[in-house]
Symmetry: D2
Subunit: 435 residues, 4 copies
């Protein structure tokens, strides 16, 4: 990268760390990110940018800087109902809420990238759309911004960019072709038994026993029904029935999360899920059918191979040797792809590691990554601040400049007027032609 | 019963119905019965009685009326966290709280009995202690009154009386020797798995699956471990784990309720319960032991055979033919017996039916009592107001007068010298000997 | 008992022990008791009695001895497919077959009783029908004798007598009114999944997982569906599916055993069983319905209260103090009552303990009877030879003489010509009249 | 292929079909393939070849034909304990035994290939070792041949060849790099409960309920413990406990089959399996530890990439366009690789489809392959005789000639000096270097 931009990245450390810690201390649940959105707006205003809200707490800034392609970069900003472990002195001050998915890194990195680009307008040309998206954890944040007119209000991007911090060596960037993150579905299942006094089970249809039978039966979808090795996650993340020991409740509620890369497997799993739940209700003698509500449905995140090639090349130039690796598809899901899909635009999504390198390498060699390394949504998931934050900022800048930077104009598929109107396969073709 | 008392019972209808409906409309959870206690105090004050609080919301009035035995009568006054069905126009006005166990009947009947006794002081002599007890549903109400000094503050009763409305033909009174209600224990089990993102089950020790396995395994205590036909109830009234579909929670909580008539069976069940929970945690690979907290422990309610004989005879005189029946032990539990036990006093406890007679008889002949007749703690358990309320009031009065009434001194088993020497009625004799 | 009979009982020891050990060494499965039947015939022939076969291996001798009532005494003779532990030097010589239910005691005691009666014809009058019944363990032995004409071939008994050795202090006799043994049903359930190569579970409907789910679900019938404390046993005695690890079988077979004292509970259990099995098959996605075959259905064994009174009195005279006790109903079942039911005759059935007294008392005081004392059908169930065998012989003789003995003629309901033709309620009435 | 060889292949139809049907009619279980081995010997003798037995029923013929590489081709010959559906008029005549895995095709094809090679010795040079292996289904056939000296008795092969018929369009050949078939383990688990009479569950530790709990718990290994999408099969192919409904057995036996491509996942699964089984035994209160016996352990079958390239090229030349496809790894396991591993030789293994093409294509488009297409080990798995048998014969011949044929010496990857220096084809080069 250009020396000036390097200097921007280097000099923003204190500001960005303060910003990150402030956001980390004040996590907000999905679609309630008022303070967070306000802080983002304030930072963007300090950079002289105008902002606009979409979907309530979503913030967007469009940075126009002459001719060239349009790049949309997105960071999600919401937190989770998790009680943070006591690890760092900037621990969440809102008890029971925590940035346990690292979105504080995402937004701090994107604000850092915006700052670097604004401070160095001479080093790039085109349009940069910074999208700070609320409500990713409940799958409705991107859609709520779109429902609120985002796609009509900003220029169509030539490429959209997104990233996530995850377990991995802090500062390493991982990227791949095709499926990056899974298609995700949440299902709220309500079981209707019959309540009774706890001492009179024969008068009840016990929904606790029913729900438990269902949970065990559901394990058989992955273990027996789908082809071995096919990717499918069927998690019952919540099972809630009853409040008192001596009252058999009338109902039980399950909240399931499904993850897939293959829509056919997903369809099979959903059919099996409904078949099992209905039959188990019959086995218990329920007189009322169970109810299924599908929600928090995440799209598949699948990188465009050509664009990924362009971004990976930029990463390899911007990072030290060995810092850019090829990842396996992650099991997580994201609603990010709703944004590019709304424009019919290609996108690239990558992962940045946030784990202490010594811990990670030791856990890898021990085969104890699963048990030793804090993972997203766990109460101990507080990624290493450095160099994770720097790497995520650098990645956003490098990926943007792959399209908007001075070098990009010589590279086919990056921003001459003719090409910016070309379809994505042309650009891909061009990208490949560089090889 | 004396004609004057009969007139009192007959004439109190409107007052008592208003009282009952008011209490039904304003149910209060255990140990929070402020409004209810206030209403009771107000009614007792109107009858010229002094009252005293014990255990916060417990109300006691001692009615001294000359020489004679002391009778303690108790009604419980708390409600449950159940949302009442829309059945009656005096439905609970506190959403999510309901007098689903009929304590509104108990307190209204006891207030009616107090009124009848106060209005007819010439027809009895001795001391009547009316105890309005809070917090029965959480097993701590009687103990909280005792901790607050109840046993030291009122005279030692010669007999204690208690009653409960349950499914059965409205107005029928059911009574038996020995075990009436079961010994009850509640157990709060906390399972420590390991949380993770819902898409990464391999990083978790899934407490939902663990809890479900435990629930199914616990069924085997009753079905396989205790002798067939031995009385034991092992209910998991609450199973709560997780709040979001895509976060595998770190813990799950079970709330169990156990009921027994035989302490040996109870001990065996508790040992099996702990063995199963610990082993299932091991099967899941938990690294932290489960926790067991025992609470809401109810004593066995077991009628004194001699006193029961006296009370049953009084019922047979006070009620029409066929209205007094012999009951099987009920599966429910009560903390009532803590009160007489604190004095070392014998006690009698009976059940009054509250179901529409046509419905009950039809359900009995169909064998559909279990499914058709609303039972305690169900959201449809709104007993027939009439004649249930009258029968419960009459039963309290008749039982009291068996000891305190004019006839009591001539009554077999109540203290003539010959009878007091009999082997079976010592305690009754003692009670009567105070005359 | 008469001194001569006492002498007979005392002097037959060696003969009876040899007989017992021989039978114990050569157990035969149900309806295959050829050697056993031959041995019985040989013994009866040595006593000068004619015998007749019914139902293949059933042996009957009718001993007519003048006027008087008719008593039918029955012993079952079959063994079980159990491999005997190495405990005694007369261990089963047929590997995998064992007299694990003590029928060897039953038949040896009955042969002993016949011998005592034949040797002392002067001490009794009437008719004694000794029935050696095959196939009790498969519930069809009594019926097969009846199908073969037994009821038409022997005189109608005034009373029928049966006994069983069980855990209990060796030599103690236990008896009760009403239900003695439970109603028993066996159910053969065939589950139709779909087989596949073991490595291709997605092509199968796995009947092993299905059967396992059913077994766990069935536990809920006793734990949740029937009223707490109601007697019900739902045992899955056999679950068989597959032979090779790498072939998912197409079917699984369950063999259930049900025990009840109350036909309504039984009906409820059978309905629940079928409901659960069908629904679980639906949960697994079976395309073929499960099959239910009911077999080995045992009737309820419920003692006639009046006859039991007569027999108990005789036992109390014939045994030392404390050796005759009141038993709780046993959970086992018997096809014995088919025989008296075929004649419309009353019957009395009792239990004789066979456990080492020290072991039994220690296990009782420890509460470890369940784990320490070998029970019927276990591979260590080899009752104490002495005094169990003597007590069982004495009990058969004493019960018979209660009707046939010299003293019996003075006792109403025992054998004057008029009375022998009277119906059983007369005799019961007469018995009660003595009190 | 050479015209003469083509003629051989074409003209052997009737002979080969008769041979196949005869073998299909007379299936023999593993290591009992006496008739089958005899038939193979007879056929080889008719071709003028000497044969030798290894491992009892294994038959080997070594065909030396001048200088050149050595190729070992192997067919397995045993059948399964499956009752064949009534589909074809050459159905198994041994009830309960069936060629349900298609080994009859394998051996008939290999005999056909031998015949073609013997009839056309002028078209190839080198050594062809035909191995007819017993006992593949029990994982010990290859090892038993090796224990019997096979590796010392025949020349070291330059490449080993094996094939299998599976669901797929009849006559299509499928091949891939790396893992072709999974590593397989069988585990025999014995659970020690405590037996009792079926009516006395409280005296037992019920192994049926225990085994069922284990089966459900084991599903959680694949559904929860291993990473989503990791390949693992944990099948309980057999669960056997008890024989009679009214005897609770003392033990239960499980036979599990495990399949993996990744040894680390396999180790994790085995650890979880043992952990779960032990803990479940503790949950049931077993006093004796479970036992684990590992057997039928199959090695991973993983094609050498270079040799696979050679063989695939030969297939593409020998088969029509579109008839050679790339396969995904199959979930099945094989003991084939023990043979080349014993020599340290590379190998190539491929699959030939055996399903009616119309059925297969329709089922593929419907997504009903799993339910509609008979798969290996199912009772309806009778592959289409034609063109499956011809294709399997042709494949064996083509693969052999890739090394032994006249063209082989000029063939890329087979030893010209330039190519032998390439990094990817060393081993192939070495093979060819013997020419």
């Amino acid at each position: 990268m250009d020396i000036a931009i390097e200097q921007s990245l280097t000099s923003m450390g204190d500001w960005q760390e303060d910003l990150y810690k402030d956001v980390h201390r004040h996590p907000e649940l999905s679609m309630q990110e008022e303070r967070t959105a306000g802080r983002i707006e304030s930072e963007l205003a300090q950079l002289g940018l105008e902002t606009r809200r979409f979907g309530g707490t979503g913030v967007v800034a469009v940075i126009e800087n002459g001719q060239g392609p349009t790049v949309l970069a997105r960071a999600d900003i919401d937190a989770l109902p998790v009680t943070e472990d006591e690890i760092v002195d900037y621990r969440s001050e809102t008890e029971g809420v925590m940035h346990a998915c690292g979105h504080d890194f995402h937004l701090s990195a994107l604000l850092g990238a915006v700052r670097a680009l604004v401070e160095n307008r001479e080093d790039w040309s085109g349009t940069y759309v910074a999208v700070f998206q609320p409500g990713e954890e409940e799958a409705d944040g991107a859609l709520s911004m779109l429902r609120d007119g985002l796609a009509e209000a900003v220029p169509r991007p030539d490429v959209a960019l997104g990233q996530h911090v995850m377990p991995g060596i802090a500062g390493q960037v991982a990227i791949t072709d095709g499926p990056v993150l899974s298609q995700g579905d949440s299902v709220h299942v309500t079981l209707h038994g019959r309540g009774a006094h706890g001492s009179m089970p024969h008068l009840a249809v016990d929904p606790v026993v029913l729900a438990s039978s269902i949970v065990l039966r559901l394990q058989q979808i992955v273990s027996r029904e789908i082809p071995p090795g096919a990717f499918s996650v069927v998690t019952v993340g919540a099972l809630n029935a009853g409040t008192k020991s001596n009252v058999i409740p009338a109902t039980a509620e399950l909240r399931l999360n499904l993850r897939h890369y293959d829509p056919d497997v997903r369809d099979e799993v959903i059919a099996a899920l409904e078949r099992i739940v209905r039959a188990e209700c019959a086995a218990s003698g329920c007189t009322r059918e169970p109810e299924f509500e599908y929600y928090d449905q995440y799209p598949l995140t699948s990188n465009d191979p050509e664009q990924k090639q362009i971004v990976r090349a930029a990463f390899e130039e911007a990072f030290d040797d060995g810092q850019v690796i090829t990842m396996a598809p992650a099991t997580a899901s994201e609603d990010f792809s709703h944004l590019p899909d709304a424009f019919g635009a290609p996108y690239v999504y990558w992962i940045v590691g946030g784990t202490d390198p010594d811990l990670y390498r030791r856990a890898q060699s021990d085969g104890t990554v699963a048990s030793e390394v804090p993972a997203n949504h766990q109460s101990a998931f507080v990624p290493e601040l450095h160099p994770t934050l720097e790497a995520m900022t650098r990645a956003q800048v490098a990926a943007a400049l792959a399209y908007l930077g001075d070098a990009a104009s010589e590279h086919p598929g990056s921003g001459t007027p003719e090409q910016s109107s070309s379809d994505t396969s042309d650009r891909a073709a061009g990208a490949a032609a560089r090889d």
